[in-house]
Amino acid sequence: MTALLEVNDLVKRFPIPGSGKVVQAVNDVSLTIERGETLSLVGESGSGKTTIGRCVLGLIDPTAGQIRFDGRAMGRGRSIRARDLRGRIQLVFQEPAESLDPRMQMGETLAEPLRYLGMNRADREQRVREVAEHLGLSERMLALYPTELSAGLQQRVGIGRAIVTRPELIVLDEPTSALDPTARAEIVDLLIRLQGELGTAYLLISHDLSTVRFISHRVAVLYLGTIVEEAESERLFARPLHPYSIGLLASVLLPDPELKRSSSISLEGEIPSPIDLPPGCPLAGRCPFADARCHKERPPVVSVGPRHLVGCFHHDRVAALDQTIDQFARFQEESNRLLSVGAD
């Protein structure tokens, strides 16, 4: 069976007007998502994760590379608005308030995507009622306007608008970042429940590692527009093999300040500018393992285990570090303990 979404060697460059330079936002990213699966893209701001999401959604045109949905190529000539793609890929945004039309009642917002599927009024109302039930929204709330709802409820409606067409894939762009911890736990819970009931695949874009840890099947770590490591969620969090993944995961604020963090690897400096990237490993300037080769050649992505890919020359040296494991096991326990409040 073909994968639901297949992205091959995606490149996106943004020219900077007047300077002749380009921002290399995404460099040769390949990924796949199976039906019903959650793949998370994690990375710092500017790592290109949102850009990848927007390319998948057809909101921007990739510079190069191919995106295939359900075995067929998307892009020029077959946009996201094509009749046979309508409603099959949906999205949820970071900013719940901005993502809802302030002049539409919630019921209208939920029904809107159905309009473009050519569904008649009675069917739309029926479907909206079903979705409202899924989301735990009362009939009354459907008549409210976005400014009358809390951020958590707005985000619920945003998710409702995404699932109303029964899509096969939803791109979730930082769906929990703008929410307070309680609302966040509820939304995470809702997303997991919906995936169980509807079998929707998620492309989750987030820097909120506790959310990522909790709902993804697989995680891809992005650094400067390149996937540096990709593995199943458990495995990546327990045993990251790329120095950047370790640095990123170590940056998580542990919920309990008593827990001592053993940062065996610390990344120096800031994320470099994605304009005119030097050859070699993009992390070379910040990595404690870096040697001359790292500055010259870009490390190939190699398989180091079942569905575990790493783009680092020195992943075996990283693997030899024992102490990292404890750190993430502890993180795992701690986040499980905290999140178990939300997940029955």
Binding site: G58, I80, Y116, R161
Partner: protein, 316 residues
């Protein structure tokens, strides 16, 4: 009133309400707003009085607006002729009350025409601007044409248009529509430029909405607030423009009752001390323009859901 507003909060009532009570609640909200902002109330009162006067003029005027009685020329304000008579013996009160029929009709139609044409073009230009393709060139040329139109002084431009199309009510309407259209074009374009990048527009795009449905269902409704406000202010300005054209003799022809031409007819008399033929229509004109400006300010607040929300919060 504050309870009516508060009940629209997150836990509030919604769909179950019958339509009647929803309208009642809106009315109450409106009344509360007017109490909070008395200047808005003044604006609505002025506009209402002017419109009612225009509609009822034939029944409330004491004399015919175009009946000259040479035996009573230049009577000062007093009994019989409350605001006096002008140099040909026409009753000034009757003429002042009749004038908004002409002025408001010209200004209203001219402004509506310019707003619909201007904002439609502006919405399309804004929506497609910055895209690669021929649309970009079209956008740019439309905007530069608007620049050229706006570079002319409005009044001179209007006189020129009337001169070209001939002196008639229709050419004044055309002139008003023409000189105002770029305002709406720009206003709409700027609004659309920011709205088209908003998340809910992207959501509609991904859901498969055509450009036309995106424009009609999301972009234009959300861009309308400043346009509506501008509309009201502009009707006031258009009344002024109509009066101005008539004043210089390029607009409505005497003896049709019209504020501008009345001021023009009376201004020689001011020198000799008979101020009333000019001053009363002048006051009526000024108050009307002021009233429409106030209504414009209130529409800007009320038509914007966010500002409306802030206002209703301050009412509670």
């Amino acid at each position: 009133m504050s309870t009516a507003v508060a009940s629209r909060g997150p836990a509030g009532v919604g769909a179950a309400d019958p339509a009647g009570s929803r309208w009642l609640r809106r009315l109450r909200f409106f009344a509360a707003v007017l109490r909070q902002r008395p200047t808005f109330a003044i604006g609505y009162a002025i506009v209402a009085v002017v419109i009612v006067t225009a509609l009822l003029a034939p029944w409330i005027v004491p004399y015919g607006p175009m009946v000259a009685d040479p035996t009573v020329y230049l009577l000062p304000p007093g009994r019989g002729h409350l605001l006096g008579t002008d140099g040909t013996g026409m009753d000034i009160l009757s003429r002042v009350l009749y004038a908004p029929r002409v002025d408001l009709a010209i200004a209203g139609i001219g402004t509506l025409v310019s707003a619909s044409i201007g904002s439609c073009i502006g919405a399309i230009v804004g929506y497609y601007e910055g895209q690669r393709s021929w649309r970009r060139a079209v956008s740019a040329s439309v905007m530069r044409s608007a620049d050229v139109l706006q570079a002319f002084p409005v009044f001179v431009f209007a006189i020129a248009l009337v001169a070209v199309f001939g002196q008639s009510v229709r050419s004044i309407v055309v002139a008003i529509a023409f000189v105002n259209a770029p305002i709406y074009l720009r206003l709409m374009r700027t609004q659309v430029l920011s709205i088209r990048r908003l998340r809910y527009v992207e959501a509609a795009y991904v859901a498969g909405a055509s450009d036309l449905s995106i424009l009609a269902r999301h972009v234009i409704p959300n861009a309308m607030a400043p346009v509506l406000a501008q509309l009201s202010v502009n009707i006031g300005w258009a009344v002024l423009l109509t009066a101005g054209l008539s004043f210089v003799g390029a607009g409505v022809v005497a003896p049709t009752p019209e504020w501008g031409s009345m001021i023009a007819m009376g201004f020689q008399n001011v020198v000799t001390g008979q101020w009333w033929p000019s001053v009363f229509p002048g006051i009526a004109l000024g108050v009307t323009v002021f009233g429409f400006a106030l209504v414009g300010a209130s529409v800007e607040v009320l038509a914007d859901p966010v500002r409306r929300r802030i206002l209703s919060g301050s009412l509670g």
